[in-house]
Subunit: 238 residues, 2 copies
DNA sequence: CATAAGCAAGAGCAGTGCTCTCGTTCTTGG
DNA sequence: CCAAGAACGAGAGCACTGCTCTTGCTTATG
């Protein structure tokens, strides 16, 4: 891996990036279903077959965009997480959730790409590494902080069934060594439910039902935070 | 509207139904993105242009399938709702949620059609009538029953902000006249969060993370029921 | 019975993803 | 330094898509 790369290598990276940028533009404009390799190539002044030197198929291009979208969302929530390291647990939780919502609202088609109907070609990597876990990890980080501050109660509803606890326990050492498995399980449930709040709004299912969406979201998200065990200032922690 | 319909009318209905059936078959097999008018026509032994006598576009066909899918899901949850009219509130809640999950797992592509990335052509009718509300209505019905049995507490987390309360109050008279607006608001939040649990599982985001999915679901759904105010036998309702 | 409406079929258009071939350009080992 | 080989862009072409238009035929209705 030489630091000095050949002109060809640099050109390749540049073209690859240009293709992804243009593809992301079309994605943001018209959605994944309308993304066309030929249109991307046309816009870049090249012929469609040339594009196959960089991405072996349309689905591979979409996969690249999926990874980028996961990372963009991950950056957004990590930013919120680190913006106020000493926030109240519930405030930090809300901040992370709000950051996710803001990103999703600003990039609905990219959100749909990662949390909507899966694209046929993209098989989610069956492990818990990679950019797909950055949002749940950010949520877990809020719980970890709360625990450090003595403000984390056992999750609502008591401990989950043993197999669920075991599922969660597997990921504790690597991802949340300071959390109890039951808390991580609660975080995962809250994560899925948060995605429900986001998808329902982004995909338009609240149309004609909920108009005060921001307040609705904040209220629901606060409930999720409490279900995980986050406690406000006055409340006991266990 | 004569009861005796012409042969042409009957033939039209029959062909329309055959088209939808074949389209649903292809949908279930390969997903919405792979559904092709030409393939449907081919399978039915007609030429593709003939199909346009019945559906003005591919998106209109998909819209018809969307309505059918909403109704199939609605039938599933209504069935669970009426199967045990005198169940414990939390048991009824779980039964409805389980019915939704079972239907979604059995018909993932149809679930994706109604709760995944929206298809560009289908603008969700901006009102609260229609088959799209049958699931949230079934959830509200469980709360109504619980209230009748004196087993409904105020929702967790206190009343939502006033604008959210107002949104909910608008729909109380028509859809849930016996519920407090704050309870309906909590039901709507629980509905969105339930969709999150379903979508996350159906769309494969639990791969490699949660293996005990049924138990995980039941545990999370019980939490949702409690957040709405449903109380188990021993618990006070106020 | 004649007129009009409904219908299936076929050709055709513009667009798509993708493959293959053919020169050209750049990189690199001898 | 130069020749072999890899990477590359262009173009033609294939099979497919949604959709339109025209042409005849069948059915319903005045």
């Amino acid at each position: 891996m030489t630091a000095i790369r050949t002109a060809r290598e640099r050109a390749r990276d540049e073209v690859t990036r240009a293709i992804k940028d243009e593809a992301r533009r079309q994605l943001a404009a018209d959605g994944a279903s309308k993304l066309s390799l030929r249109a991307v190539a046309r816009e870049l002044g090249m012929v469609s077959s040339a594009l196959y030197r960089y991405f072996p198929s349309r689905d591979e291009l979409l996969t690249a965009l999926i990874v980028d979208a996961y990372n963009a969302l991950g950056d957004a929530v990590d930013g919120a997480l680190h913006a106020a390291p000493d926030a109240e647990p519930l405030d930090g939780w809300t901040a992370v959730c709000r950051a996710a919502r803001a990103w999703a609202l600003a990039h609905p088609h990219e959100y749909a790409l990662i949390h909507g109907t899966p694209v046929p070609g993209y098989a989610a990597p069956d492990d818990t590494s990679g950019p797909g876990v950055r949002l749940p990890l950010a949520l877990a980080a809020v719980a970890t902080r709360a625990r450090g501050a003595g403000r984390l109660a056992p999750p609502d509803g008591g401990p989950p069934p043993a197999p669920v606890l075991a599922d969660a326990a597997i990921h504790v050492p690597e991802h949340a060594p300071e959390l109890e498995p039951e808390t991580l399980a609660a975080v995962l449930a809250a994560w899925a439910q948060l995605l429900g709040l986001l998808s329902t709004e982004i995909f338009g299912q609240f149309n004609g039902v909920i108009t005060a969406r921001e307040l609705f979201f904040d209220h629901a998200v606060a409930g999720l935070g409490r279900s995980v065990g986050l406690r406000a200032a006055g409340e006991a922690a266990g």
